[in-house]
Amino acid sequence: MDLFNEMAKAVIEGDEEKTVSLAQEALAKGVDPMEAIEKGFAEGMKEIGRLFEALEIYLPQVIISAEAMTAGVDLFRQHLLSKGGETSQKTVLLGTIQGDVHDIGKNIVKIMLESNGFKVYDLGRDVPVFDFIEKVKELRPDIVGVSALMTTTMVHMPKLIEALQESGLRDQVKVMLGGAPVLPEWAKKVGADGYGESAMEAVRVAKKLVGLSSEGERA
């Protein structure tokens, strides 16, 4: 369908006005919003992800495209809500672990997860283990995603997993780890459910963990 191609193109070009107007056009034509997101906007963002992995584009372009997609998706969501429809999304609680202030990687993962339909609660950087636990209790996310850039902070990651167990929450949430010093074998050893070497891999693993995809899992 040409409309879906145009929607994907508008995301790739980071044209926010266009994504909004195309969403309006889709609604006017009676296109199912979820189908339009999946076959239009999400396809565009998938291409952006591919281009970023190949470093044919850089983070600023990824951010612009993600914002364009969000604008269009928001319009669809408002429409669904006004009709009393369901807009349920899988949720991820994201943060950089206690003591670590390096969050570029975490921020890229956030963009990619949101662009792939996840609702992300971003706790930011230097997040104490206790804060993760409190937010898991409050928000009941499907996944907790934790990143670290330093070996002295990644050692807090197993403590988070232990704290989830002690709080009786471990069975209710999947845990994904990532960050430069985190190796897949280590993530598995400390009891994580998933590991992402890159932002795109994090998306693939997150989808697998919540049953949205059957693609590969690393940890």
Partner: protein, 463 residues
């Protein structure tokens, strides 16, 4: 001892961190990307994959001017106050004109004076041998550190880090971090003694401790941190600082230790591609000078996916930023080498050669090196910086030109670049060194000899 009057007023920096323009961090990040992109166009800065080491002085000068523009327009973001620390053009100019143009490390006969290098400088680069905080076990810390300190071309050294101390995980902010940090400093000085160089400068005597309290706790002469040693204070990518860093600066300004400023912008990140990241890296040096009162500057720009700086675009970035700074400032700058592959592989030797040639001919001192993408425990040894330093010394001694360097480095890069995404992680320290004798295995020595022979075929003889 530093002359504080020759650096921008640090109290004024703190005031500005509290009173500067308030801004959301995500807005600052986006603004940086847009600004870097517009400056790239305005100053006509273009990356050429066939010209890794440009001989174009005009390009270097335009990158410098673009960086000045970026720094003055963006300022430095303080994440704790969510405010921008801004500077006026005359403040930057004053800082560049007044910065001391030499800094000393070490004591007695081990004293080394570091100076600003020039493009195609025929003076030997100063070589800061470093394990760049590679995680090692407690029992291997000393032999690994000694393998760096004992190298004849090591002008200074620093160490790996430990993630476990006396059976307890060393977690950031915990009491064990302070204990381990003190032990770290003691062991580095012990490594210097065992290497027969008790007074060699330790340019960063703390790798295990990250928090300011742990760092300061370890900064005592009785633990082996002598006047003439140093510490590195790292900016947060891109163009950001926080109170934790500024607290280290507050201490170091009044200490006998050399304050090195450290920057690791991500190519492909907020500043964009190689051009935008080159502009941002030069601008980071102004951050280090004005916000950190840095006496010398250490850079490790890295590829956002491959976590190394030996790809084609990373080497270009290193070359043009070195040239921009060397041609336009009196700053003392060092290039921190990040290899994709690990110890005792043919690939790491070629990567080290390419990075060292590029850095040395472009005006940098050398800070070798992180290997195996700086993420695999026990994968580091004194042999990798030896290779890097030998190449750097040779480049200076024979007076290699940028043009000739470009020809050689292009050949080297073509040989290994396809292997970078899945680079071999190589051998652990005890697999490529005799731990008893603290010397490389015959296998590692032979590999280096073989590579030197190959490089001779490229017209680059390393004796």
């Amino acid at each position: 001892m530093r002359d504080s009057k020759r650096f921008f007023d640090f109290i004024e920096v703190i005031k500005r961190a509290e009173s500067g323009e308030a801004m959301k961090e995500s807005d600052y990040d986006k603004r940086l990307g847009r600004k870097a992109l517009s400056l790239m166009k305005q100053y006509e800065i273009h990356y050429d994959p066939q010209c890794i080491i440009p001989s174009d002085d005009g390009l270097a000068d335009r990158i410098f001017q673009a960086a000045v523009n970026l720094f003055l327009d963006m300022g430095v973001y303080c994440t704790d106050t969510q405010r921008v620390i801004s500077f006026a053009p005359e403040e930057l100019q004053w800082a560049l004109e007044n910065v001391p143009q030499e800094v000393n490390y070490g004591r007695d006969k081990e004293t080394i004076t570091v100076y600003p290098r020039k493009v195609e400088d025929r003076r030997d680069p100063v070589c800061f041998f470093s394990a760049v905080g590679t995680p090692v076990t407690e029992e291997m810390f000393l032999p690994v550190a000694q393998s760096y300190a004992q190298e004849p071309l090591a002008d200074t050294f620093s160490g790996p880090l430990i993630t476990s101390y006396k059976g307890i995980s060393v977690t950031s902010g915990s009491p064990i971090e302070v204990e381990a940090a003190i032990w770290n400093t003691q062991m580095l000085r012990e490594a210097a003694r065992r290497a027969g160089r008790p007074y060699i400068g330790i340019h960063n005597f703390q790798s295990t401790g990250e928090k300011t309290d742990a760092t300061i706790a370890s900064a005592q002469e009785k633990f082996g941190a002598f006047p003439g040693d140093g510490l590195l204070v790292a900016a947060i990518a891109e163009m950001k600082v926080d109170f934790e860093r500024l607290k280290k600066v507050a201490f170091l300004r009044q200490s006998p230790y050399v304050l090195g400023a450290l920057y690791g912008p991500l190519m492909g990140g907020y500043a964009g591609g190689p051009e935008g990241t080159a502009i941002a890296l030069v601008a980071h040096h102004f951050l280090g000078l004005l916000v950190f009162s840095g006496e010398r500057h250490n850079s490790f720009p890295i590829h956002i996916h491959h976590v190394c700086n030996t790809t084609r675009e990373m080497l270009w970035l290193i070359s043009v930023t070195g040239q921009a700074l060397a041609r336009n400032t009196p700053l003392i700058i060092a290039s921190n080498a990040f290899m994709a592959s690990g110890p005792c592989t043919e690939m790491v030797i070629d990567e080290l050669c390419a990075q060292s040639i590029t850095s040395t001919v472009s005006g940098w001192h050398l800070n070798p090196c992180a290997v195996a993408k700086n993420r695999y425990p026990m994968r580091c040894s004194g042999m990798e910086p030896r290779i890097h330093a030998e190449v750097g010394h040779r480049v200076a001694q024979i007076g290699l030109t940028r043009k000739e360097a470009n020809r050689i480095v292009l050949r080297l890069v073509k040989g290994y670049e396809k292997a970078i995404p899945e680079a071999p992680i190589g051998k652990m320290f005890h697999e490529c060194y005799s731990v008893d004798k603290i010397r490389p295995t015959d296998e590692y020595d032979s590999l280096f000899a073989k590579k030197k022979k190959e490089w001779g075929g490229l017209g680059f003889e390393v004796i």
